[in-house]
């Protein structure tokens, strides 16, 4: 569905050359749900803008839905849906009108566009507000309308740029449900960018971690955590001597802090019962146990030495400076 080769986008700011996207190799198969995760300015949105024909690459190539994004823009546009960071629906328009216009833009007949608009209004729970002026809708309602706009022509591939930014937790959960539902019922290929860790973790089957315009990791959330961080088992003992004795019995990488052992493993939930049994048999029963599993933030921290949670923006954040396309 998507195939890029050395996809690159450079911008010129006052003096420096900003490599917003620096040679991305990306392959997405039909039916995948992929999240691009990274801090602000990592190059996620710029990548998406190239894949959706909004900006031409500086160099490299990208084929989307079977067509080259530079040479066959119209063919690409006809086949993709795009839900950007802003509001797709014009603020002075009415939601239903915008949906019909959007359908017309893709060459749908008026009657078909109307029918499809009614369907989406229904499934996205917009019935009460679809005939009101967009500017009077709440943030969550507008976002659902944006989703409906992106889906009017039932695209085979849907791009979402930071879909849940600015939404409250309930609307975020609601939106995520819609996206997952869409995936399940229509088998739509979905590519979204996010800087919400939990969103990438809970929704995507595949997370692509982007930093400084490059892909630094690409796998399922589970495997990313297992490969780059692993789990921790913390065992507490009554006496320091027990802890020391237990340490010599456990065949995993560990560190001892007084009466406490910190064991680094992959797959802690499966290993814990065996370890506990073995210790009990040896007469060294643990007094307390704690298992911590890594988050994607731990993955990011391990990979870059920076935390996503603290902002972690790349130093030359592409959003802050005036940039000229190269």
């Amino acid at each position: 569905m998507i195939e890029t080769h050395e996809l690159t986008k450079h911008f010129k700011s006052k003096k420096a050359l900003v490599k917003a996207v620096d040679g991305i190799e990306l392959t997405v198969a039909a039916g995948e749900l992929v999240a691009l995760l990274g801090p602000n300015g990592a190059g996620k949105s710029t990548t998406l803008r190239m894949l959706t024909t909004l900006i031409p690459p500086t160099s490299g190539t990208a084929r989307v839905a079977g067509f080259d994004v530079v040479r066959h823009q119209r063919e690409v546009r006809q086949r993709i849906g795009y839900i950007g960071q802003g509001n797709g629906a014009g603020h002075s328009q009415r939601g239903r009108d915008e949906l019909v216009s959007q359908g017309r833009s893709y060459g749908m007949k008026v009657a078909d566009a109307r029918r499809r608009a009614a369907e989406l209004i229904d499934s996205l729970d917009l019935g009460e507000v679809a005939d009101r002026t967009v500017s009077t809708l709440s943030g969550g309602q507008r976002r659902r309308l944006d989703i409906a706009m992106g889906l009017i022509h039932a695209p085979e591939l849907l791009f979402l740029d930071e879909p849940s930014t600015g939404l409250d937790p309930q609307n975020r959960a609601n939106l995520q449900e819609h996206i997952i539902d869409l995936r399940r019922r229509r088998d739509t290929t979905i590519v979204l960018t996010t800087h919400y860790l939990d969103e990438a973790d809970s929704m995507a089957e595949r997370v692509i971690v982007v930093d400084h315009g490059r892909i630094i990791a690409d796998d399922t959330p589970e495997r990313l955590k297992a490969t780059h961080v692993g789990d921790k088992i913390i065992l507490g003992f009554e006496h320091e001597t027990d802890a020391a004795a237990a340490a010599s019995r456990i065949p995993h990488k560990l560190q001892r802090y007084g009466r406490e052992l910190r064991i680094s493993v992959v797959g802690a939930p499966q290993l814990v019962p065996g370890i506990l049994d073995d210790l009990r048999v040896a007469g060294l029963p643990a007094a307390s146990i704690e298992v911590t599993r890594p988050t994607l933030d731990d993955v990011f921290l391990t990979l870059t030495g920076r935390s996503l949670r603290e902002g972690g923006a790349a130093p030359e954040s592409a959003d802050d400076i005036e940039l000229v396309e190269v």
Binding site: I80, G86, G88, H91, R94
Partner: protein, 248 residues
């Protein structure tokens, strides 16, 4: 499937829909011309040939078009900020249609406003010559198409610098208006002013409207006015379509 005409129709009807849903918006941009009509027209000296409105009203019709149409780029500017322009750029709509459809829509308020002004003025002694007025409005529409396109071009060039759009628009608006002799006749002014006025395409449009609204269809000004309006229309579309392609 779609072609340039269906795409233009899609953009045109999208632009027109809020106006049809709320026709009163057409009146908003007319506030200033109406103020001039109410407070300035009574100051005009009585002329031999009848009501001074006969001379003043065509100018106000052009002024009303000038105010509304030159501001229209601000709608695009706003849509560029909220994200709906970007959304449309990702659809397969042809880029020229994105501009031409918008510019064509400008004709609708121009016609509505002209009709409104004429209707308001008839009770005060304005005499309507229908054929001439209709031809006048057709010529004015060509001008507004171009002016609207230029306003959209300015919006595309301004991007997120809203101040730039308004500074340029306001800076150009009043010189264009005054040099076209819309409020007071240029013929009584000094030579340099008259010379400057000759470089203003709007002067020819205003002259043509004055003759046409008085029923003088075969005047030479009709031809020069048409040439000026069509030239502005063509130039506007050309520049605008290029700008829309480049913003792509």
């Amino acid at each position: 499937m779609t072609n340039l005409i269906t795409d233009t129709t899609t953009v045109f009807s999208r632009e027109l829909r809020p106006v049809l849903r709320n026709p009163f918006t057409v009146v908003f941009s007319m506030v200033q011309p109406l103020v001039f009509l109410a407070l300035f027209a009574p100051l005009l000296p009585k002329v031999a040939g009848g009501s001074p409105l006969q001379w003043f009203v065509p100018g106000i019709v052009v002024m009303s078009c000038l105010f509304g149409t030159s501001m229209t780029g601000s709608n695009l500017l706003y849509e560029m900020q909220t994200g709906s322009h970007e959304r449309m750029l990702v659809t397969p709509l042809r880029r020229p249609a994105l501009l031409v459809g918008r510019a064509l829509k400008e004709i609708v308020p121009v016609v509505a406003q002209a009709a409104l002004i004429v209707v308001v003025c008839i009770p005060f002694g304005f005499r309507l010559h229908l054929t001439g007025a209709v031809i006048g409005i057709v010529i004015l529409s060509a001008f507004c198409l171009g002016l609207g396109a230029l306003s959209y071009t300015l919006a595309l060039a301004s991007k997120d610098r809203e101040w730039l759009f308004w500074t340029v628009q306001q800076t150009l608006l009043f010189p264009l208006l005054l040099l076209a002799g819309m409020l007071l006749p240029i013929e009584n002014g000094p030579d340099w002013l008259q010379t400057l006025s000759k470089f203003n395409p709007l002067s020819y449009v205003v002259d043509a409207e004055r003759a046409l609204f008085n029923g003088d269809i075969w005047a030479a000004t009709t031809l020069t006015g048409t040439v000026a309006a069509v030239a502005v229309g063509a130039l506007g579309l050309l520049v605008g379509v290029r700008a829309m392609h480049r913003s792509d």
